[in-house]
Symmetry: C2
DNA sequence: CCAATATATAACCAATTGGTTATATGTCAA
DNA sequence: TTGACATATAACCAATTGGTTATATATTGG
């Protein structure tokens, strides 16, 4: 099952997978490089990468025996847009704080 | 002490729980009212509510035999701020640039 | 060709998840 | 006081999760 699909929210619910995405935020990386950041085994990392791939959050590029992974941030928009509908709850509260501070002067 | 702690990402990874939060976005609601929106049983809903409570995402108010649930959106800032660090990928349209460069190969 | 390297997959396991039904607890109304 | 209602918890179950070790598959260098 490649391409679009599997649940993005489930994919990012695991802290190791969020850490992987964070590592890929600025650079492509090969698996063995990513692995150095974790204490679990190489197969465990491969399983996380597969889940991220199936959620469309990362993409793979083959180069010899290396696999370069890179972020596909587009799929995170689903998360951003869901949580974005709640943003007013803290921005409003900050506005209220601002108003309160104004009134106190 | 409000049991702050339990993983917010895990709590919102379930679509039913996101739907509950969405229902609470504008109004407080009692359990039996929430229940009308779902096809699973009342105990299943109570379990979801407990998980949301333990993640600090909702709060409970007792009123006779009713339990009013209300959103505590503050805990969603953890999600918002994590995903916010990826926002530049679509606001700056770097993803389109990447796609364009790929197509030019 | 062969051994080493990089990564993925298979097979397995314990813990967790999300549902169920049955029951407990607390409150209200008659 | 009793019975219905609102909600939570208990006990149970199958499916999924996240890890493990062992193995498979490609690729490269000597």
């Amino acid at each position: 099952m490649s391409g679009v699909g599997a649940d993005v929210f489930a994919a990012v619910s695991d802290p190791a997978r969020r850490a992987i995405l964070d590592l890929l935020r600025d650079n492509e990386r090969v698996v063995s490089d990513l692995l150095r950041s974790f204490s679990f085994s190489q197969p465990a990392l491969s399983k996380h990468l597969r889940i991220l791939r199936e959620a469309g959050l990362v993409e793979q590029r083959k180069d010899g025996r290396l696999r370069w992974y890179r972020l596909n941030a587009a799929r995170l928009r689903e998360v951003a847009s869901w949580v974005g509908r709640y943003e007013r709850f803290w921005t409003e509260r900050l506005d209220q704080l601002g108003t309160l501070l104004d009134e106190m002067e």
